[in-house]
Symmetry: D2
């Protein structure tokens, strides 16, 4: 195989940093350009001494011509709304480019929904890429990703939640109403931007819920759960799923653990459910199903690309409780992006991700 040339837009954010950490050890990748709006002309090791003697490269400004010309594949690790402009510009320079977008801008298929939750309209140029974009959750969309040149990398919360409960919805084992998801995330999920909430003295020894109404990952979760649950004709009739989602901030660096509450249509044995999960994910190298009563914990997934899933059935309340855990920067961002890159380029799916 030949190495592919890869660039990163937004290399100094936490997702960009994690991408660099993974890509410098990926056997089929050559890192070409790294852009940063805050640190241009400085070297990576100046910003992050961890990369001393690892990456010897200066950060540059965003330059679509240069980036498209020199790269086979580009990761756009930027905040939402930024990719609305960036992605069309890059594809305009070169049609056969591959892009994996880590922002939220191309995840929602309906631009009106995007507008409602992100308070920003798609541009005419960006809107046309909505249909091209494949939602990059390999455990569900591997074959589409394989043929795509533009992947919308899923959000961190949605990754943990959709993977955690997809089999239950797929086989209609649970009511689609009344789904409640209580998620807890480490601080790196909030990014590198300074804020009083993330000031060490304020965050340490603290715990809180935030954005408990209207977090903008909700439409992404609901879109994907509906696609899993409904037949095409029902979707066309406008059928939908609504979830109650509440994120919390943990005083630790990395990881998302989601506790999902669903009502079983019919009480089943835990072994039966276990079997269904195992089959659903039989070809997914990064899913680990825990046998009840064992349950995932953050420490088992931190620094890995795994999504760990466990569950218990509560006969008293006729509920199934599902616990899923990921590293928000790996399976929830950079690792999943590389997993998508591997699939798009016919590399082994776990290439460079076994750490």
């Amino acid at each position: 195989m030949k190495k592919i040339k890869v660039s990163i837009i937004g290399a100094t954010g936490y997702a960009g940093k994690e991408l660099m950490k993974i890509l410098i050890k990926h056997p089929w990748v050559e890192i070409i350009h790294l852009t940063s709006s805050s640190y241009k002309d400085r070297s990576i090791a100046e910003i992050y001494p961890e990369f001393l003697s690892k990456i010897d490269r200066k950060l540059i400004d965003f330059d679509p011509k240069l980036l498209a010309r020199d790269s086979d594949l580009i990761f756009t690790a930027v905040s939402h709304t930024v990719s609305l402009e960036i992605v069309p510009k890059l594809f305009q320079e070169r049609e056969d480019l591959k892009i994996i977008d880590l922002s939220a801008d191309y995840r929602l298929k309906d631009p009106l929904v995007y507008q409602e939750w992100y308070k920003k309209n798609h541009f005419p140029e960006s809107k046309e890429f909505l249909t091209k974009a494949v939602y990059g959750l390999p455990e569900i969309y591997a074959s589409k990703i394989k043929q795509s040149c533009f992947v919308a990398n899923p959000g961190c919360y949605p990754t943990s939640i959709i993977l955690g409960i997809a089999p239950l919805l797929k086989y209609h084992l649970v009511e689609r109403k009344g789904i409640i998801i209580d998620s807890k995330s480490g601080t790196s999920g909030a990014g590198r931007k300074l804020s009083f909430d993330l000031h060490f003295s304020e965050c340490n020894e603290n715990f809180k819920a935030y954005k408990i109404i209207g977090h903008n990952h909700i439409p992404e979760i609901e879109q994907e759960l509906a696609l899993i649950y409904f037949r095409k004709e029902d979707l066309e009739k406008g059928k939908s799923i609504k979830v109650s989602f509440t994120p919390h901030l943990l005083p630790l660096n990395r990881g998302i653990l989601s506790t999902c509450y669903l009502t079983l249509k019919k009480i089943k044995g835990e072994e039966e459910i276990l079997e269904i999960y195992k089959q659903f994910f039989q070809n997914a190298p990064f899913i680990r199903i825990f046998e009840p009563p064992n349950l995932p914990e953050l420490k088992f997934v931190i620094g890995t690309n795994y999504c760990d899933i466990g569950f218990r059935i509560d006969k008293r309340t006729e509920q199934i409780k599902v616990i899923s855990a990921i590293d928000n920067l790996v399976k929830g961002a950079a690792g999943q992006a590389v997993q998508n890159m591997n699939i798009m380029n016919d590399f082994p799916e776990n290439c460079g991700l076994e750490f």
Copy 2:
């Protein structure tokens, strides 16, 4: 007023330690005996150097005769099942004793329910104290506590949960079915006993759910919620409330934050709900109601006897989400016990608890 003579059974556990911290500054308390099965004959400051020059007292063995003779009031800060034996022995020595029991043994009014959840039968001697015991949640039972000489101090999780949602159930604003409670507790809630799960390297930077089916605080929560929700005649018909409860372990020392999900019978404005909460708790000095969109955080309650309560209404899902926060060692244990002591002795309710 005259000082009362107070002893603590189990003074070196975390609840006992917190009791000592509060009582040494309480103006109407004289500490008499401190017992410890693990450290008898040693001084407190040897075990906890924080008490250097604060308490000059040797730990003694449990001696009911001595304790009952010398004390007006005794706190039993012991593990569940231990109080089954201890409490009858103490009352046998002296009938006009006052006892505040921090174990779970006298919280459940039905000994069969106790047996089911704690895998232990009441003794004939202990069973008779079940009817004497008042559930020590002052915001609900202040007048009963005032006349009682035996208080069963509530559990930490139940305190945060019952206080958080009592007004909604009292006024039947929510469905009694489908109540879901997702609680998160700091490590001191697990006590002082060593375990691999609480070994620093295992617990730090980790987060997990535990006992997600069948935690033994469930019957206590359900008993009290039913007493709030149902009329006497319905209770006698055996009507009950079932909740789904999932505790999690936070990598921090103190605090419980409970996120409660309830379905509104009828969508109401947040101001209307706020008013209902304020009235319900108008005489409760340790309840702080947050005006939406503000929400409690652990750091606001740590080291205090407050229970902070906030909520938001989610119109999309017709839910109300309630967040309540307490310090598990204060309002969830020792502070609430002292609050009960104050009420039982006609001291001001907040005496010694304003720190």
Copy 3:
């Protein structure tokens, strides 16, 4: 006794916040004005919900006329260089005012030394207050503080270090050369100002030294150690003490632990040294001396006004190692300021500080 009227300049910084927490429970204090340049016209509870139902007061701008008129005593909890202007303005409005300055501006008696380390010249108006200012370390200067109306409250590192080794220097038990101090501080010592270094994800699970050459607490430490060690005539000859000081940043909220290395002139027994420490601090209610081999730990002092001191003698290297620990926001700032206020006003030294 009559209550005194107290105002705080800079009430929303961490030292100001701690002052409020202490003063609202102080029996002889009435809080009058609270100023904040960042949050004027907002209420305290808006900024810090912990103060809900505790302080009902709006933050105001700095107004020397108003402040001086209404207050008996003012705490200036501001950054260094700010007090150079503020203090003269306040005293100009009212001569019989009492001021306790928590900045570094009046700690160094020699304005040239101040200029060298703080890169800022004293104003003519501020310079005249240098001679008036008493260094507010009550364990050394209680009688001067008692008669003073202007106290320069010591820095957090200097407090832990000077108290830790004062007896050794006073009685010339150690060489004055080669003193090495390795200090470790929690993050609140760096204040409330946002910085990448104090961003939770950067600071958590990290540890580092900082400003290892030229930290501006050095001249304060050296000035005070020299005053303890030398006779007046030697000081006038320009004799001085030089220490090697290295601060480190701990990933925790509060506390300073200093490890001090000194060479013994003559090996002595630990009991003998213990006796010397006990006598030196016999009237100091906030000093706790640990008997070897026991040693201070941060958790024993956090949330208290104590300075805990322990030591061991290393015969192999002829050294004495002294460990001292304080809460940087209490004994290292607000608590010590209140201790000074108590002494200046003839209140009991520990009034309001027993928590």
Copy 4:
């Protein structure tokens, strides 16, 4: 190259666990046996779910015949004094075995010194291996390690300290007297054994010094520094170096940062010193020298095999302060052991260690 067969004695301790994590990805290693006295007959993934689908192997009891027969190389990751018995037994079974011992038992060349600091006598059988053992610090002893079949892997504190100051001693740039080392270690350094000191609630938000007199890493540090500083004839005359060493416990999982204080014989420029360090370590792939004023931090080395070294010259006190940082479980234990294995087997020195 052919894979070598490797076994681990003590696989479930923290060092053993880290060895497994590294070795499962090492291209030239096949893991054969894993022993554990506490968990025999159980699978690794039962103890550490992180290894689910990574290692499928049952833990066995220590069986020298079996282990020696099946393995080319054995890591003994056991507590000190245990290797005194184990190592001779293994070599007895097979002479051409390679052993890397992670205990302290063969680091000190003088059995009397061992006896003095570890309170245990060498056996006649173990004593003869003292001369065979090579001290496994590759940056100093690479050529000896290459030819050895028995390596005593250095302690974590000694690794950080010896590497940090070796160039200064080698070239006699500093006084050999008065060396002071103030080290801070994360909790994993204390191992997996439960203790009250490492109970989360006791350790979190705390910081303390421990074993400040007589830590048993001192003779190891002094032995190696003397070997670097003195010529052979001086050593034979009994010349030695004494250091003052004080370890502290950090409330974080991994990492050691040592702050070393040495007196310069002659003040030099920082550039000159920098050049000396760079040359000294020019062939050392795991040493990173920081250019002043940059300094190492724990987060740069955590999860890596690097030893980061920085320094500053303090002209006021004629000192050089050296800061060195390692991950105690990697460069301080398992990583260094694998580095030694690589050298002993002619693998590239950094093979399997670039993560």
